[in-house]
């Protein structure tokens, strides 16, 4: 490590920068079209295989997309294990949508509960059915989405039109040859118990014949509702690798649920102080480790990440690890605390790294090093002088999400003016792209010196780079704080990103 100086910019281990191309857009806005508040996308999530994508919006809807370029169903067991090669870039098509949450009113607390979907998480697929969890501020729902063949039923015993007189349930879907009742429509007595059956049965009775059609329809059914467990707004849900439990986190508490049990949850973290005036820190995001079922990370508004070991005790008030970077006191300002708040954390697929996003930066942590992040990426450093304005118009409280690529080589996060940034995070990588959520993502790409003055201690592998020169303004683009790209997700196995610009879902590949 000692030998590595600035020349590790040419480190052969670092993969070349990716060239991002536009793949697809769903719900593109035509010029001058006004965006309906309810249509704004508020959650994006790929499933584990990357064959499905779900988005949630402020109107409480969940929209599912399915990948179309995968080889027609290979061995399912292979799919379960998530390894199969694909030659082309992923393409998706609209699959179905359903209304997940409705606006509600909590009469006890006189609170309106918005229908906005805060998070979506996919659960283990079983058979051909998809399962996912969606949550708004208060209520988590477990959905099963299943393809059903459209069926026609024929060969009934009774003509429904005649039986209708005493059987309100006559099915309207019956078709084909119908049996006729001699004195149809007459009243009849329900069978008495001593009704005797001949040993051979009644030959005149017949079972309905079901003809399966070619068409299928997707049916979404809410299987379970996990409600009334959160006093504050739910900011995260996360599945455990054991396949049977998940957590939900609000500002002050984290609860543990069993997927099968909706009337009981266990509180595992409670940071609520006895006196609310002593409150200094809230939970902003929480996620389970991808493979260790007992490890859980949560981030706080003070910029720290805590790693919990659920084995230690039932109520995890004591963290097993604390990740925090101590800012030099000289650089402190009024905004220091506000912008330190972490809006999102994500585990890398390997489970060794945690990516965190605060207002100005993206930080990559190694869980073996809690003193500082292994890499810090400036997302929009040019905004630092404008923090005052951002505070005035509340933009400083925007919660940007972040994501890692499936191979763990790159990270991405959003910014304003519908921009998002992709950084290479392998030691030595200089990749730092600025992309725009539009049909021409590279439009904003400015070849600027990606690497700024590196910290003096080249012994540490801490790198600080990607600080954009403020010259981007010179392109003639003014910053637009109303068009912010908060939500994005990286495909689990390929270099493909889905991101939300207001009501539009843009997909890119490299």
């Amino acid at each position: 490590m000692n030998g590595k100086g600035p020349e590790d910019a040419r480190d052969p281990a670092a993969p070349p920068a990716l060239e991002w191309k536009f793949a697809q857009v769903f719900g593109e806005r035509t010029a001058g079209e006004e965006v309906q508040e309810v249509d704004i996308i508020s959650a994006i999530e790929f499933d584990k295989s990357g064959d499905h994508l779900a988005t949630g919006d402020r109107g409480g809807r969940v929209v599912l997309f399915e990948r179309t370029d995968v080889r027609a169903h290979g061995c399912r067991r292979d799919l379960e294990r998530l390894d199969y090669p694909v030659s082309r870039h992923p393409e998706f098509r609209y699959q179905t949508e359903f209304q997940s949450h409705e606006p509600e009113f909590d009469y006890l607390k006189s609170l309106e509960i918005e229908e906005k979907i805060n998070k979506i998480r996919w659960c283990q697929t079983a058979n051909s059915a998809l399962f996912l969890l969606s949550t708004n501020d208060k209520t988590i729902k477990f959905w099963k989405v299943q393809e059903k063949k459209v069926k026609r039923i024929s060969e009934m015993n009774l003509d429904p039109s005649q039986a209708g007189g005493n059987d309100s349930s006559a099915s309207s879907s019956t078709a084909g040859p119908r049996a006729c009742l001699p004195n149809g429509g007459c009243s009849y007595n329900y069978m008495c118990n001593d009704f005797s059956f001949p040993p051979g049965g009644f030959p005149s009775l017949r079972l309905p014949v079901v003809v399966a059609g070619q068409e299928t329809s997707l049916v979404a059914k809410c299987r379970r509702i996990y409600a009334h467990a959160h006093d504050y707004h739910i900011n995260s849900i996360s599945n455990n690798s054991d396949g049977e439990t998940f957590i939900s986190a609000d500002d002050l508490r984290i609860n543990l649920w069993n997927l099968e049990i909706s009337n009981q949850s266990f509180n595992i973290v409670d940071v609520k102080p006895a006196n609310m005036e002593d409150l200094t820190e809230v939970i902003t995001s929480a996620e389970f480790h991808p493979t260790h079922c007992n490890t859980l990370a949560y981030s706080s508004s003070k910029g720290s990440i805590r790693l919990l070991d659920l084995r230690q005790s039932a109520l995890c008030d004591n963290h097993s690890q604390l990740f925090e970077e101590h800012e030099a006191s000289s650089s402190r300002s009024f905004f220091t605390e506000i912008i330190a708040s972490i809006s999102d954390i994500k585990f890398g697929k390997d489970g060794r790294h945690i990516l965190s996003r605060d207002y100005m930066t993206l930080k990559l942590w190694d869980i073996n090093m809690d003193s500082r992040p292994v890499a810090t990426f400036q997302v929009h450093e040019y905004l630092r002088p404008k923090l005052c304005d951002l505070y005035e118009n509340d933009s400083i409280f925007d919660k940007f999400e972040c994501c890692l690529s499936g191979d763990g080589l790159r990270v991405a996060t959003g910014s304003y003016s519908n921009l998002f940034r992709v950084f290479g995070c392998v030691a030595g990588s200089t990749e730092a792209m600025t992309l725009e959520a539009s049909k021409n993502p590279m439009r904003r790409q400015v070849q600027s010196p990606a690497r700024t003055a590196r910290s003096l201690s080249s012994l540490t592998r801490v790198v600080r780079r990607g600080a954009e020169s403020p010259g981007i303004d010179a392109n003639g683009n003014s910053y637009d704080f109303t068009t912010k790209l908060l939500h994005l997700a990286w495909h689990p196995t390929e270099n493909s990103i889905a991101c939300a610009a207001a009501n539009s879902l843009y997909m890119y590949y490299a």
């Binding site: 059903k148 005149s204 009775l205 659920l310």
Partner: protein, 587 residues
């Protein structure tokens, strides 16, 4: 065109509704599948109905669940045990659905059918089914297969047995934790059918793998099979194979695993024999009683009596009692509460001397606990201690606690204690009761919470039953009747309620002389609610009183009420009048 005779009409509808759009009607049809089967006859049931059900398995989960349940008892309708195997295909598909409860029910039904099947049919039909499920593409099928091995295994020939064992061991190493969990939780059942020789070799190595699984949830279930396996093995083998594992588990990093150990440990004591129990299990148990995690201590404390019962008097006094003493002042109220609910059972185990010396102080400190749950748990088990330490000692220490609980801030606590009063009264006797508890019982009649007043009225009835009408005349009636002049109508209503409950117990004379006049007087109350309650009470008194009393006293009063300006009063008065008419007519 089929002609349906009229008597068949209902069945025809039932059959058609198997495919109705309304799920409620489909459910209804599925629940009456046996009727449909009888109407079709055995042969057509086998050839048409069962295949029909196999094909139509994409219904809603509720319908599938009902179908899985019905098929479990369907053998008589397909022609008896000879044909039982035709039921397997539909259940096999139900074993693969996504919903856990449907799969569980299908597995249960398959087991139910499997135990009735003849050996050669099992080999021909059941074993292949288990193998197919175990090799299923989706984890759902593999999960279901785990619960079927214990049925398939015993009748299989040797070679097939070896294959089944190796399949099971693969399931225990499945990629999906759900499958490993199912394998772990069914291991005990499967092991019970496996021959001794393979038990030690193969099953124990499967078990060892499970105990080292990296998923807590799998290890937890492995703990559960410890006890089951322990019972199957010879004591010596058990000591060699299971004991080290459980001792290890009792120090597992995960509190959930230790929690399971605390729950299960006592079951192993018998399997390993007295000496290893003393050397290994008692120290392990003591550690669990002193665990850092309150949840583990709760589980351990809850088993303290069961554990001691197995050990006999000596070991507990030496090793367990000191821990129990610590637990009685544990920082977690839930631990104390768990201890309080079982500690009484230790008295008979330890004998009188040890109980008075050691247990009584613990017991008294729990009785004075600041949390009502703890005190309640003690009081609810009083009968067990009464026999050991005697009433005098008990009443001295008990009374303050009861009085305090009776006035507790939380109405649920008060409610709980009221429900124990009749039991206490019977144990403590009339004398004690009169002195100390009588006033409390009266006090509750004027509680602020309806449920308490309601329970208090009921309590008076049960006391009257316990001590007889004579006693009630002296100690209850005067005080109760006094309270009818309470200025608040809700309390007057409670008294009416008490009267209607007491009347049947006290008999005709007392009712006529003491209770009825009060009720009649209340019919002049200014509050309509009281008046219509009078009507209701009178209605309830009619059957137990003499006809002359009804005629001369009750009916005039009801007739007056039936002309009341208030509509509700008129309604209930008329109801009571009608009821009394019927009683008169029938007598």
């Amino acid at each position: 065109m089929a002609m349906i005779d009229e008597p068949l009409y209902p069945i025809a509808i039932l059959i058609d509704e198997l495919k109705n759009e309304d799920i409620q009607l489909r459910l209804n049809s599925i629940r009456r599948l046996s009727t449909i089967a009888r109407a079709l006859g055995e042969e057509r049931t086998r050839k048409e109905l069962i295949p029909f059900l196999s094909e139509n398995n994409d219904d809603d989960d509720e319908v599938l669940l009902a179908m899985a349940e019905e098929l479990g008892v369907f053998i008589p309708y397909v022609g008896g045990v000879e044909y039982a195997h035709v039921l397997l295909p539909p259940l096999e598909t139900l074993c693969t659905v996504e919903e856990t409860c449907v799969r569980d029910k299908a597995v249960e039904s398959l087991c139910r059918i499997g135990v009735q099947m003849k050996e050669n049919y099992l080999v021909d039909w059941f074993v292949p089914l288990v193998k197919r499920l175990a090799a299923g593409e989706w984890f759902t099928a593999r999960v279901s297969s785990c619960g079927l091995f214990h049925i398939a295994y015993p009748s299989a020939p040797d070679q097939l047995k070896a294959e089944l064992r190796s399949i099971y061991s693969q399931l225990c190493q499945d990629d999906m934790p759900m499958v490993r969990r199912a394998a772990a939780s069914n291991l005990g059942k499967f092991a019970a059918t496996v021959e001794q020789s393979y038990l030690k070799a193969e099953i124990m190595s499967i078990f060892d793998d499970l105990t080292q699984d990296d998923q807590d949830s799998v290890r937890l279930l492995a703990v559960e099979s410890c006890a089951a396996l322990g019972k199957l093995l010879e004591p010596l083998d058990c000591v060699a194979h299971i004991l080290p594992v459980i001792v290890n588990f009792s120090q597992d990093k995960s509190w959930r695993v230790r929690y399971m150990v605390a729950n299960q440990l006592y079951e192993l004591c018998e399997a390993v024999g007295p000496e290893p129990t003393r050397v290994d299990l008692v120290p392990a148990y003591v550690r669990l009683l002193r665990d850092n995690e309150a949840e583990v201590r709760i589980a351990a404390a809850g088993k303290v009596t069961k554990f001691c019962r197995i050990l006999g008097p000596q070991l507990p006094i030496q090793h367990i009692l000191p821990c129990v003493k610590e637990l009685s002042s544990d920082s977690s109220q839930h631990v104390r509460s768990a201890l309080a609910s079982v500690i009484m059972g230790m008295a008979p185990v330890l004998g009188k001397d040890a109980t008075i010396d050691q247990l009584l102080p613990i017991f008294l400190s729990l009785l004075k606990d600041e949390f009502p749950d703890v005190r309640l748990n003690i009081i609810s088990k009083l009968d067990q201690v009464n026999q050991v330490i005697g009433i005098d000692l008990l009443s001295q220490s008990l009374l303050p606690a009861i009085v305090e609980l009776a006035e507790d801030r939380h109405w649920r606590v008060r409610l709980a204690i009221i429900e124990y009063i009749p039991l206490l009264a019977s144990q403590l006797g009339v004398g004690f009761f009169d002195d100390k508890l009588g006033t409390l019982c009266m006090q509750w009649l004027e509680d602020k919470v309806f449920s308490i007043r309601d329970a208090a009225a009921n309590n008076l009835k049960r006391l009257a039953e316990e001590f007889g009408p004579e006693w009630a005349m002296q100690h209850i009636i005067p005080q109760v009747l006094d309270k009818i002049s309470n200025p608040h109508y809700l309390y007057r209503m409670t008294i009416l309620q008490a009267i209607s409950l007491l009347a049947p117990v006290l008999g005709v004379d007392i009712t006529c002389q003491k209770l009825l006049p009060v009720v009649i007087a209340s019919s002049k109350d200014r509050v309509p609610n009281i008046k219509f309650n009078v009507a209701k009470v009178l209605q309830s008194l009619v059957p137990i009183l003499d006809q002359s009393v009804v005629e001369n006293t009750i009916r005039p009063c009801l007739i007056e009420l039936s002309e009341d300006p208030d509509v509700d009063v008129r309604y209930f008065a008329n109801q009571a009048l009608q009821a009394s008419d019927q009683v008169m007519m029938s007598s």
